[in-house]
């Protein structure tokens, strides 16, 4: 069968990356294929990013995965799909919004199936394949469509056959040798059929095991993001491995075995590195994976995990454990985060450190549990009554999830207050290929206890950096009461306004050193550019890519991605904003929470333009570029007029 496309894309685009989607109904193995491809690519030196999408049925419903593979690390999905494999057409329209195909993309499907939704693939070249027939001819082939499609795709993508077979064997090892062998046979049938049909690797990427040649497939048209996330130096810890050392270790090593991790898994790793002892949580999508994974691993590391009766209990259990001297965490998503508001205030007042992860999803209320948004920012800053000077961190990649989890614990323990780590579904649910992070090189702070100096009668007094040491229950002579009501330096309840005033100022001043610390604001592009673009969290990915594209086009531009949202950092941020005329603020919040946050705390350039919309789908690079070309965001959100 001949290729139906004729228009060749520029060579450099096609060589550096490729994007594909696989869709099908329950049990067809959509996710298995995606994960196998990612693993095979990783062991062949290719980076990748995979996102997953499910229909509303809990199990057995339709699902789709989206892969982007290439020679540099990714932290966003591809704008468009070059290659689509449809395992069956059932309910595929559910993914319509996510399935933007490159003009001339290929769509593989079963040739005997009717093809009900032409509008879904209208720009694509349809490649009906006799998968059923092929399977029937392989011994033990029945029910192994995923291995067959995997084989076909591996060939199309120019992935090395040995690596693919290894990945397959790893995957099915637990199913026994027979399963591994049957799958290998099916794989080979798929591979060989593709080789016969299309010759060598029409979607291959330069430098992969099998170089592409001959064919000229479409490409997503967007260059990869070469900007690595800068290390985030933490504040100096007292009497510990200097942080600087730790951070140096983060630069990409030449490890032969890259990591494949989701953002949630990154948080699991990071929190374990930080020395997590205690986790209490309540299930909620898309954060549950954190608790589930910790349920496995924390017990093996002498820690405790408890599923609480609700989020109110979870947050207060974490606080109780922290009072007991343990590093404690909870993780949740929007609705659970709302329920934790009162607990956050308690931890602030009682100065019991802990970390809460909020994996944001579409809101308000129960919203859309499986889709991403960045609309919990105001809640992270403002939830819980009263003045709550707390720390809010926001990673923008899986590596950031690891690093900022460690920082979160360090800051919590050092400042003795709650730290909020704002992740989101897009970070949490995607699998990224990343270079290994040398975990032993990152220092985890230990809590400053009263071992050396007594806090007796001064538990809530102003010490150096306003933070007093914390007595460990069990220590004689250091007994104190952690107080939720306003209290004297000794910890006794008071209704004195003078005491309240000085304690409020002390709680605020705990954040001062951090607010001036360098290294929390990622900056990329041209320092002298007049054009700036800013985002936070997972939307950082699109900003990196936009900066790359614009600079490739010769437009000087500056990208800014803050990873510490509170305390704010005027002394660090303001110089970065100095020479900007125009600042684009990109965010997944219809209310423009980030833009208003920036206005509240920073002096912004004369023109500020929001590229803001409700979530549900991460930004595409083209979407942002288009909005910038318009020079105004009216199609995306409100105008820049206040």
């Amino acid at each position: 069968m001949a290729n139906s496309w004729s228009d060749c894309m520029p060579a450099e685009a096609r060589r550096t990356e490729v994007s594909l989607a696989i869709a099908g109904s329950g049990g067809t193995g959509v996710m298995t294929i995606g994960e196998l491809l990612l693993a095979t690519a990783a062991s062949s030196g290719l980076y990748g990013l995979m996102t997953r999408s499910y229909g509303p049925q809990i199990r057995g419903g339709e699902s789709a995965c989206f892969l982007r593979l290439g020679r540099a690390p990714f932290d966003k999905q591809a704008d468009m799909i070059d290659l689509l494999a449809v395992l069956d057409w059932h309910n595929i329209e559910r993914f319509q919004e996510e399935l933007m195909l490159t003009p001339g993309a290929w769509a593989l499907c079963e040739e005997t199936e009717t093809f009900p939704r032409p509008e879904l693939v209208q720009q694509a070249a349809l490649h009906p394949i006799g998968w059923k027939v092929l399977l029937a001819h392989v011994e033990g082939g029945k029910g192994r469509l995923s291995a067959l499609v995997f084989g076909t795709l591996c060939h199309l993508l120019g992935l090395p056959r040995t690596a693919a077979l290894k990945a397959l064997a790893d995957r099915f090892r637990d199913h026994g040798d027979a399963a591994v062998e049957a799958n290998s046979r099916v794989f080979k049938a798929g591979w060989e059929w593709a080789a016969r049909e299309w010759g060598d690797a029409p979607f291959g990427i330069v430098g992969t095991g099998a170089l592409p040649h001959g064919a000229c497939p479409p490409a997503s048209g967007v260059a990869p993001s070469p900007v690595a996330i800068g290390p985030l130096p933490g504040p100096q810890a007292r009497g510990q491995t200097p942080r600087a050392d730790a951070q140096k270790g983060v630069s990409p090593p030449a490890s032969p075995l890259p990591w494949l991790l989701t953002g949630n898994q990154g948080i699991v790793i990071g929190s374990l590195v930080a020395g997590l002892d205690f986790f209490a949580g309540y299930p909620i999508t898309p954060s549950s994976e954190i608790m589930e994974e910790l349920s496995h691993y924390l017990a093996r590391r002498e820690g405790v995990v408890i599923q609480a009766e609700d989020e109110l209990a979870a947050v207060n259990m974490a606080i109780g454990a922290s009072f007991g001297g343990k590093k404690a965490m909870t993780a949740t998503s929007g609705p659970g985060f709302s329920l934790m508001a009162e607990g956050l205030g308690l931890a602030l007042m009682a100065e019991t450190p802990f970390v809460v992860v909020d994996v944001q999803r579409v809101g308000p209320s129960t919203g859309i549990a499986t889709k991403t948004e960045q609309s919990d920012l105001w809640a992270a800053l403002g939830s819980s009554h009263g003045d709550n000077p707390r720390v809010v961190l926001a990673p923008s990649s899986v590596r950031g999830c690891i690093e900022l989890s460690i920082q979160a614990f360090n800051l919590a323990e050092r400042l003795k207050l709650p730290v909020i780590l704002l992740s989101d579904q897009f970070l949490a649910g995607r699998t990224e290929t990343l270079d290994p992070v040398p975990l032993d090189a990152i220092a985890a702070d230990q809590r400053r206890l009263t071992d050396e100096v007594s806090a007796s009668g001064r538990r809530f007094a102003a010490w150096d950096e306003a933070v007093s040491p914390m007595p460990l229950p069990g220590t004689p002579g250091e007994e104190y009461i952690a107080e939720s009501t306003e209290h004297s330096p000794r910890g006794w309840p008071t209704s004195s306004y003078q005491v309240h005033r000085s304690q409020s100022m002390r709680r605020l001043s705990k954040l001062e050193p951090l607010s001036e610390q360098e290294g929390w604001i990622e900056f990329l592009g041209d320092p002298a550019a007049c054009l700036g673009i800013m985002a936070w969290g997972s939307t950082g990915g699109v900003v990196r890519e936009v900066v790359h594209v614009l600079r490739a086009r010769g437009t000087p531009v500056k990208g800014i991605i803050p990873h510490l949202l509170y305390p704010t950092q005027p002394k660090v941020m303001q110089p970065l904003l100095e020479n900007l005329d125009t600042l684009y603020v990109v965010e997944l919040s219809a209310m423009q929470q980030f833009r208003h946050y920036l206005q509240a705390f920073y002096r912004l350039p004369p023109t500020v333009i929001s590229i803001a919309r409700a979530g549900g789908m991460p930004f595409r690079t083209a979407e942002v570029l288009e909005a910038m070309k318009l020079g105004s965001e009216q199609q995306i959100a409100h105008s820049e007029d206040l």
Binding site: D170, P258, I306
Partner: protein, 287 residues
């Protein structure tokens, strides 16, 4: 060192309780029990919520947490899981325990961690000045039920037993010695001990001073039920004014079971090597 006396368990804070408040008796009983058990103050943690009763930790010389309304039990749960070596006592009000904190109460009971939970049940909201509580008698006028309360009062010990309590007792603040003995037994009990304490509020339910005192009955040692449902019947008798220990069951605690089920897993993945192993599993899982 001479053994600690009850007064050694008093802190320097002066209670804000109204003169005559039942909670004084509870504080008294607590210190007597602590002294009898020779508990070192530094190994003791008293955890509370918010209310008159929940002021307790401030008045005890020990570690403590004056938490938020209704959440004392989760705080204590986290603490006890983190520090099984500490003796953790929860001292809360009927509002804390049975109203806003009712869910935590049920689940803490079910979990059976080794905690001792004293509920100073004054059948009213004292601190907020006299609103109806979950244990206010039917028909009583309070500041939020000017036409009389229409919610049948909860039977807290019946509820606790229904949730699987392994120690359920009731005492009275005006009998601090007996109460101290109950508390002592509660602390000795391995598991979650519920001690409902009738502790009259002299301001918002002045009638309770006599109403309760004059109507109490006692369950004899010999009557102590070995059957949960019989115990409920006893605990509900006389409109919840029967005192004594209604039920005790030796059952492994949540911590025992956590230890037992995770023993094999423990120390498998410690240190940096353990971290590497975990990462390796993720990487493999994805292939």
């Amino acid at each position: 060192m001479a053994p600690l006396q009850p007064k050694d368990y008093l802190s320097e804070q002066k209670p804000i309780w109204c003169p005559g408040c039942g909670d004084f008796g509870v504080l008294n009983a607590l210190t007597v029990a602590f002294a009898a058990l020779e508990l070192p103050p530094e190994k003791l943690a008293v955890i509370s919520g918010i209310g008159c009763s929940s002021r307790m930790p401030g008045y005890v010389h020990s570690y403590g947490f004056h938490g938020i309304h209704g959440r004392a039990l989760p705080i204590a749960t986290g603490l006890k899981l983190a520090r099984p070596d500490l003796t953790v006592i929860v001292t809360i009000g009927d509002g804390d325990a049975y109203s806003i904190g009712g869910n935590h109460f049920v689940h803490a009971v079910r979990r059976n961690l080794d905690l001792t939970c004293l509920i100073m049940d004054n059948r009213i909201y004292g601190m907020t000045r006299g609103q109806v509580s979950a244990t206010t008698p039917l028909g009583d006028r309070t500041s939020t039920t000017p036409y009389g309360s229409i919610e049948p009062p909860l039977a807290p010990l019946v509820l606790a037993l229904a949730a699987g309590a392994t120690f359920a007792a009731r005492g009275a603040s005006w009998e601090p010695k007996r109460l101290a003995a109950l508390i002592e037994q509660g602390i000795r009990h391995r598991g979650f001990s519920v001690i409902d304490v009738l502790s009259p509020c002299v301001i918002f339910r002045p009638e309770d001073r006599t109403d309760l005192r004059d109507h109490i009955t006692r369950i004899g040692e010999e009557h102590q039920a070995q059957d949960r449902f019989e115990a409920m019947r006893e605990a509900a008798a006389d409109d919840g004014r029967r005192l004594g220990i209604f039920y005790v069951e030796a059952r492994s605690t949540y911590w025992d079971d956590w230890q037992a089920t995770t023993r094999a897993a423990k120390s498998q993945m410690v240190g940096i090597a353990g971290l590497d192993a975990i990462v390796a599993r993720y990487v493999r899982r994805e292939t």
